[in-house]
Symmetry: C2
Subunit: 335 residues, 2 copies
């Protein structure tokens, strides 16, 4: 194999096709005027040479790279990986491409990620984890980087904020427990306390108070299986044992249920009702069968992408609140 230039350029294609370089460029730009004959010659030459438009150069010229950054931590987590999956899929369908940046959930590392997005002149970035601080957000907007915040908070203007109706869901959870005859409610949550988790907590406590039901609360670590186990041990050794527990995440619920059953020999839902949140795949597995709230993952992704495409009616709405449907399964009595 002879040594050759790594990538073939439009110039090369033009030479082979016997046309000007602009003709090549126009052939690959939808909506530009090229005669059928020229187009055919160009396409033939491009195919023979293995030509592919250089998107770096195109992005440089158009000032629009087609890149959208996804900023996310703990991609291994079921909920997050499903959301990222839906987002990349829908971005691809919209002609964009996803760039993935890992963060530990510190604000600082989110800032670093956003700077990286700016460097690649991303058209937008979508923040799934962590909270960018005000100055970074301003920097992004100033640089023409559009921002979507998913289940973050509702503070930053100029961005699209997509949140769930966490308070409403929490209220429904209380209602379900009340109907099941639960008298002693409890809630377990992480210590991190993202705005959306805190909204679930506050909503649950408020709704319970409205019905004069007491709520025990535990906080620990991240929203993981291990945390769920640990909080189960704490909660189930209290003097009065709760009989209705709202886990702000299905992962917590899985750990909680396993410990309640194996270590405390409790029957779910007879002795203890459990409600989770997210509707991850595992919640539907036979061993768990958790009553939970479904994150409208496709809906979230669709709204984000629609806003990015600048669809007329969507562009104006900068704050969206989606509903999380309750999924009735077997971890609550009398569904």
């Amino acid at each position: 194999m002879t040594i050759q230039k790594a990538f073939v350029s439009a110039q090369d294609v033009a030479a082979r096709a016997g046309v000007s370089r602009s003709a090549v460029s126009r052939t690959f730009t939808p909506g530009k005027s090229v005669s059928a004959e020229t187009r055919a010659k160009v396409l033939a030459a491009a195919d023979a040479l293995g030509y592919h438009v250089n998107h770096l150069a195109r992005g440089l010229m158009r000032n629009e790279s087609g890149i959208v950054c996804l900023i996310v931590s703990d991609l291994g987590t079921p909920y997050r990986s499903n959301l990222v999956n839906a987002l990349t899929q829908q971005l691809q369908d919209a002609g964009k491409i996803a760039m993935l940046i890992n963060t530990d959930r510190s604000d600082e590392s989110v800032g670093l990620a956003l700077r990286q997005a700016i460097r690649y002149r991303a058209d937008a970035s979508i923040v799934v984890s962590g909270m960018p601080d005000k100055s970074i957000v301003k920097l992004c907007l100033r640089n023409g980087l559009r921002l979507v915040l998913i289940n973050r908070d509702d503070e930053h203007d100029g961005t699209l904020r997509i949140n769930l109706d966490d308070a409403k869901a929490a209220e429904n959870a209380v209602t379900a427990f009340a109907r099941a005859g639960c008298k002693h409610l409890a809630l377990i949550n992480s210590t991190a306390g993202t705005p959306s988790l805190m909204a679930r907590e506050a909503g649950f406590i408020a709704a319970a108070a409205a019905r004069d039901l007491p709520v025990m609360v535990e906080h620990h670590g991240h929203t993981s299986y291990a945390s769920g186990r640990l909080m189960a041990q704490r909660l189930l050794t209290r003097p009065t044992r709760p009989d209705g527990v709202f886990c702000v995440t299905d992962l917590l619920a899985c750990g909680f249920m396993d410990t309640a059953r194996r270590e405390f020999h409790l029957d779910i839902p007879k002795d203890l009702c459990v409600i989770g949140f997210d509707d991850i795949e595992q919640a539907s597995w036979i061993s768990y069968n958790i009553t939970t709230f479904a994150q409208p993952i496709d809906g979230i992704a669709a709204n984000a992408v629609a806003w990015l495409r600048g669809d007329a009616e969507q562009t104006e709405r900068t704050s969206l609140r989606l509903h999380a449907d309750m999924v009735w399964r077997g971890s609550v009595r009398g569904g």
Copy 2:
């Protein structure tokens, strides 16, 4: 807010700092010679203006974008999302950035993904799902796009192939079953049959044959929880019920175990031993507690990234076979 140019360029910074544009460029290129004084002026101006090097332009000049494409299907799957997580993390640490492309696992869509990688002049792409055909691989190599194939096959020259020692693992599974006194072995697998899954199957059958143990085999759908359930129904209604089942994936094992317990009231490991593969998080959950083989995810990622960086000794090895350690848990008797 006044209308202004979207992005600030090196020119703008140079003007404000009172130096030439090249000085700005050199300031942001490690190893280039700039006086401390100039560097300070440049950094001050860059900070004030919010300047960020344009990586599209830089990539265009250097002919090296810093982008690495990850080609993957079903990111929602625990094993894949953990692998992608490790890869993006380690790529970031190496100064690269991950681009994520979703495929259905058809060869065709892998081809499309690779063309996308070429268009963005990615430095490399890492194929986690699907199998690119020979002509596309050639096209990539000709375009200077390096290729890493993870748990694919071992055919393509010029690429880095990272595989597990599936045969050895399968042999260890047979040994474990034999020690537990299992007489009737079985294996469940997807119909897709990627090379690595087929290697596990072939290895298991061969090792069982060497011990004169019969093996029942079932194939169905993807390597999912649902498939595991369905194959359990098929396998456990056979005239002779297996007492040692190798599930080529933990997800299959979860579905299999749930069905074996709830629908056939079998005790694991008393009536039935189960071994999985991957060591996903769920395999360690109390409800499953599956004896399995750990994918050396960090090792895979580390090897891939090291090869991409062109580390001297690594560059020569183009085919790697890593070991999957057995993780002893409770789904096999007498661990």
